[in-house]
């Protein structure tokens, strides 16, 4: 799976309240949630993301609550991968479960700047800054997990397999 898009750069310890403030959790529809993604710290985010863009952050991304609405909101904005130095435990599992791939790549995070264009190859685990050509290596996403992401998450993945 290959992803190409613009980098949206965030800091360390981005918590789930920043990703989707609790006052918007009175609905569970992904599109409605996406409209408020990062509403408090990046009001331009939800509108500005283009399909295929990549979110880049520091340490402990997704800390805080277990709300699955957080990865769901990010995915529904059009973000296709999150690259961070590290992820909080519950968010890590939730993100893959709803089909949002995560890559841990501390060196890439150091190099990537807001607005950079990147090419991410999940199968190879590579992250390339297109302008400069510099490439970073993360742990490759295994084939079964790529299938799961392609399907849109664990539930559609299991349903597809049951049918076939």
């Amino acid at each position: 799976m290959k992803i190409e898009g613009k980098v949206w750069r965030f800091q360390d310890h981005v918590d789930t309240d920043l990703i989707i403030p609790a006052r918007y959790l009175n609905v569970s529809d992904g599109k409605e949630l996406a409209a408020h993604c990062f509403a408090d710290i990046r009001p331009d985010f939800a509108e500005g993301v283009h399909e295929g863009d990549v979110l880049v952050a520091g340490k402990n991304f997704g800390c805080g609550s277990s709300r699955e609405h957080a990865p769901l909101a990010i995915r529904e904005t059009g973000i296709r991968a999150v690259i961070a130095e590290s992820f909080a435990r519950i968010f890590y599992r939730n993100a893959f479960n709803i089909g949002l791939p995560l890559l841990e790549a501390p060196e890439a995070v150091q190099a990537l700047k807001e607005g950079d264009r990147v090419a991410v190859d999940l199968g190879a685990g590579t992250i390339q800054i297109l302008e400069e050509g510099e490439t970073f290596q993360a742990q490759p996403v295994p084939p079964f997990m790529q299938d799961l992401i392609q399907a849109g998450g664990l539930v559609p993945y299991l349903r597809e397999r049951r049918i076939s």
């Binding site: 918590d15 569970s28 909080a88």
Partner: protein, 421 residues
């Protein structure tokens, strides 16, 4: 030779049908109790339906608690709560709680004896780790994972490595579980225990009341931990003996169990702690808080909304009035606690002091309703998170402390120690 294990590993092994488990292993476990609330259950129920399930794995082993936006704050949240009610009826769920019969999920589940020592509990809420105070394994998961548990009663887990935190010595006045956990978070940082177990032990823990233990296990997730846990003892037994709905199993760590790290903390020098914005690990002793005027004080939540917490706050507010211009909100964690607070005259003390005494609800803790902060406003709260915008406007501030500090601060209108009164 059997391999020594921690209490967490023993509980996981017992639920995986295994003799032993080791950190890093992936295991399949059976779940004693699954939990979801009015924010997370609608998504989990959607997942349950999408995977083609028709009946929950056991209608007596699922707790559905509407507590975050309760009493329903608007039409959308009322619709969400309705999904729980309809599902509970359709599936004959025994433990469905809403408003009058309920309260804050992590307060009522132990109180009603749904969780007992030795259990394995998964909940679609990050503070599910609270039940570790009983010597149970409990962890927060997302709605997809919980939806699958609803259908099967099983899930897979990675066995966490453990950090042992040993607290030694006598606590000084006005210092309790909240201060111990805040102090610990200050030491290890908000990702210091990511993916790991925080096991709380030592001579201080042996005397610590259950309410304080719940507070500590509750905030294990603020260090990134998968679970927090306290080995059950006579205090635990006394708590569960009058409540347990099923038979407890008392586990403890082997003396030679392996830990990734051991932290030793002398509590005799610890004073009440305050976490400054915008992170629970940004702590300092209350004497070093400086001049921080407040607009609001919140006493309640799954962290500090128990009877012991309310008693402590009331003991300070008795005969005093809250500072002019400070809004003080007290939300008991459950109906039982509210009722007891009324019987003991605690509710009267709060009202006489100028506080409001509201319904059991998560309320302002997560900025849902019942006390939202305006632009630039400052609140001191007994809850668990002080992230940017947590209780309202993104430019508001939240400071975290224990109920005694909250009450003293309410009286003085600034962050203060009970010693300052």
């Amino acid at each position: 030779m059997t391999q020594p294990m921690t209490i967490t590993e023993k509980i996981l092994a017992a639920h995986a049908g295994r003799e032993l488990v080791s950190p890093g292993e992936l295991i399949q476990v059976r779940v004693d109790l699954a939990l979801a609330n009015d924010i997370t259950a609608p998504l989990a129920i959607q997942v349950f339906r999408e995977i083609g399930a028709h009946r929950v794995f056991d209608p007596e082993r699922l707790a559905l608690v509407a507590d975050h936006f309760v009493p329903n704050k608007d039409i959308a949240s009322a619709e969400q709560a309705r999904i729980l009610q309809d599902f509970a009826k359709e599936q004959d769920i025994t433990h469905y709680y809403h408003q009058g019969n309920g309260g804050v999920e992590h307060v009522i589940l132990p109180e009603k004896g749904l969780v007992v020592p030795g259990d394995l509990v998964l909940g679609a809420d990050s503070h599910t780790c609270t039940y570790g105070a009983l010597g149970a394994f409990s962890a927060g998961v997302g709605s997809t994972d919980l939806g699958a548990v609803l259908a099967t009663g099983e899930t897979w887990l990675k066995v966490p490595a453990a950090i042992r935190v040993e607290y030694q010595g006598e606590l000084t006045p006005w210092v309790g579980g909240k201060d111990l956990i805040l102090f610990t978070l200050g030491r290890i940082g908000v990702e210091g225990a990511n993916y790991k177990t925080l096991e709380f032990c030592g001579s201080t823990m042996e005397k610590l009341p259950m309410d304080d233990r719940f507070t500590m296990a509750n905030m294990a997730v603020e260090g990134g931990a998968k679970n927090g846990i306290v080995a059950p003892d006579s205090i635990t037994r006394a708590y569960v003996s009058e409540r347990a709905l099923h038979e407890p199993v008392f586990f403890s760590s082997d003396p030679d169990a392996a830990y990734e790290n051991v932290l030793s903390i002398d509590v005799t020098e610890i004073e009440p702690q305050v976490a400054f914005p915008h992170s629970p690990d940004n702590v300092r002793p209350v004497s070093k808080a400086g001049e921080v005027p407040l607009d609001q004080v919140f006493i309640g939540s799954c962290t500090n909304g128990r009877l012991g917490d309310l008693r402590q706050a009331a003991s300070i507010l008795k005969g005093r009035t809250v500072a002019p211009g400070v809004r003080v909100i007290v939300l008991p964690g459950s109906r039982e606690i509210a009722l007891q607070a009324v019987r003991e005259g605690i509710a009267e003390t709060f009202l006489e002091s100028g506080a409001v005494f509201g319904p059991p609800s998560c309320g302002p803790c997560l900025g849902g309703h019942l006390g939202i902060l305006a632009h630039k406003e400052r609140a001191l709260a007994t809850s668990n998170r002080n992230f940017v915008g947590r209780m309202g406007h993104p430019e508001s501030e939240v400071y975290l402390a224990n109920p005694a500090v909250a009450a003293a601060s309410a009286v003085l209108g600034r962050i203060a120690s009970p010693e300052d009164l």
